[in-house]
Amino acid sequence: MTKTLISGNKAIAQAAFDAGCDCYFSYPITPQTAIGEYLSEIMPKAGRGYVCAESEIASINMVIGAAATGAKAMTSSSSCAISLMQEGLAYAVGDELPLVLISVMRAGPGLGYIYPSQCDYDQAVTGGGNGDYRILVLAPSTVQECVDLTHKAFYLSQKYRNPVIVLSDGLLGQMMEPAEFVKYPYPEIDNSNWALTGAKGRTPRKIRSLEINEEKHNQNIQHLFDKYAQMEKAEVLYEEHNVEDADIILVAFGTMGRNIKAAMNLGRKYGIKIGTFRPVTLFPFPNKRLSELADRTKKFIVAEMNMGQMIKDVQIAINGKAQVKHIGRPAGAWLDETEILDEAKIMLGEEYAASV
């Protein structure tokens, strides 16, 4: 199959189209506007829905409306504008609606800055909406993964009837890399037993997050958490390298996952036994595997372009079995391999550095 040199943003847009996205609603914001721009060209031509909404609050609610009818619906946005969608996300979870949200992170808080960042890990993974809820979060690190994980996002959202976030960032969104546009590899999921398609000839249905009955309410929330338990069993994804003999393991998600690999390659040249671990699903988080790794390796560095967000999940997974240190900064030049390697050397200690 031939490869195309394409940006992460456009790759996500094309992959969503290939996954059968019926409707796309969004409001432009840097650095993800190229997604909407790309879809504005191809969606109407294919007879599918494209609306440049009047606000992000409108776009997430349009997505909810479309999803309730059984359509595959998506929106995309960035940081401060995704803050505006938090109420909608909580409703979508409560309504058990499948939808895909592409989050292309820039710096924050507030209006922040248009430079790439990873400061919305917490926003995506723990969320800002109300209630007991979780959202599946997939974090690509290459343009090819932008394609593959966007496909997966549509599938998982339908499979679990839950929103899925693809967590990209401004660097991955704007950089180009060769990618293959494979056919949507997942089965279509039947939604005829819940979608609102007109009640003629059948019992009317309701989609709502409100339940005025204590017992039923608690049952509904338990049902959500049964789904999350199922996700934790079946959907965890991660990428690891050289962990078998590692004296230190570098952990990062998304684009930073590339830089820890560069640091590992550089360190291994000097005989420093570095391994890397990159969670691909941020929820469900690869707790079990990290815990296993901490049985053997006693030093972990979490590298993030933020002030320390994923580190909390790594610490929970490792549960005191190993030393965990965060390195990062809020935005600007990304931590490069020499900086990461220097931190690894400091953590390993002078004696170790002298012995290799």
Partner: protein, 180 residues
């Protein structure tokens, strides 16, 4: 083996499209490649640059602290990015707009009249292709055939002939500095 290239200049000098053409030519040679544009307020009429990383194996980090090759199309970018060039690296500089100077002794300078060459052949806007012609002579990851193929993939039909011509002129200019 991995190599990184920064192309920098004014908006309008074809900095980003030269990078995209180069990156496509690497892809046509079955290399792994990333192209990353400079992002910020600079994009509005001022300085612009892009960074290309090419490798035989997977490209890891995209945004490097140091670069192997710098193509500087104006004085501003020469001054801004010279310090990013690795010791032993190469600087291709547009002598039409940059006064010849050699502030560092550990890099190799190739000063050529890039903008003038493009202007004489029909359009100053094609200066970017002169610089790619020069680069094709010193970079082992690509060749003139795949750059021409990449031009076909990226540029509209009506300006392709001009760009081939300017590219060839760039190769000629740099025949003194062959691939090592």
């Amino acid at each position: 083996m991995e190599q990184s290239i920064i192309i920098a200049g004014f908006g309008g000098q074809g900095v980003l499209s030269a990078g995209i053409i180069l990156a496509n030519s690497f892809m046509l040679n079955d290399k792994q490649v990333t192209w990353y544009p400079c992002y910020g307020a600079e994009m509005r009429g001022g300085a612009v640059n892009c960074e290309i990383v090419v490798s035989d194996t997977e490209v890891t980090s995209v945004h490097k602290k140091e670069t192997d090759i710098l193509i500087a199309l104006n004085d501003l970018s020469f001054n801004k990015f010279l310090s990013k060039v690795k010791s032993g690296g190469i600087v291709i500089a547009n002598a039409t707009l940059i006064e010849k100077k050699y502030p560092r002794e550990d890099v190799k300078y190739i000063f050529e009249n890039i903008s003038d060459t493009a202007r004489e052949l029909g359009s100053i806007k094609a200066a970017n292709m002169v610089s790619l012609g020069i680069l094709s002579n010193i970079c082992n990851f690509t060749d003139i055939k795949s750059i021409k193929q990449a031009i076909d993939m990226v540029l509209p039909q009506k300006i392709r002939e001009l760009n081939y011509k300017v590219l060839d002129a760039g190769i000629k200019l740099s025949e003194s500095c062959r691939k090592e």
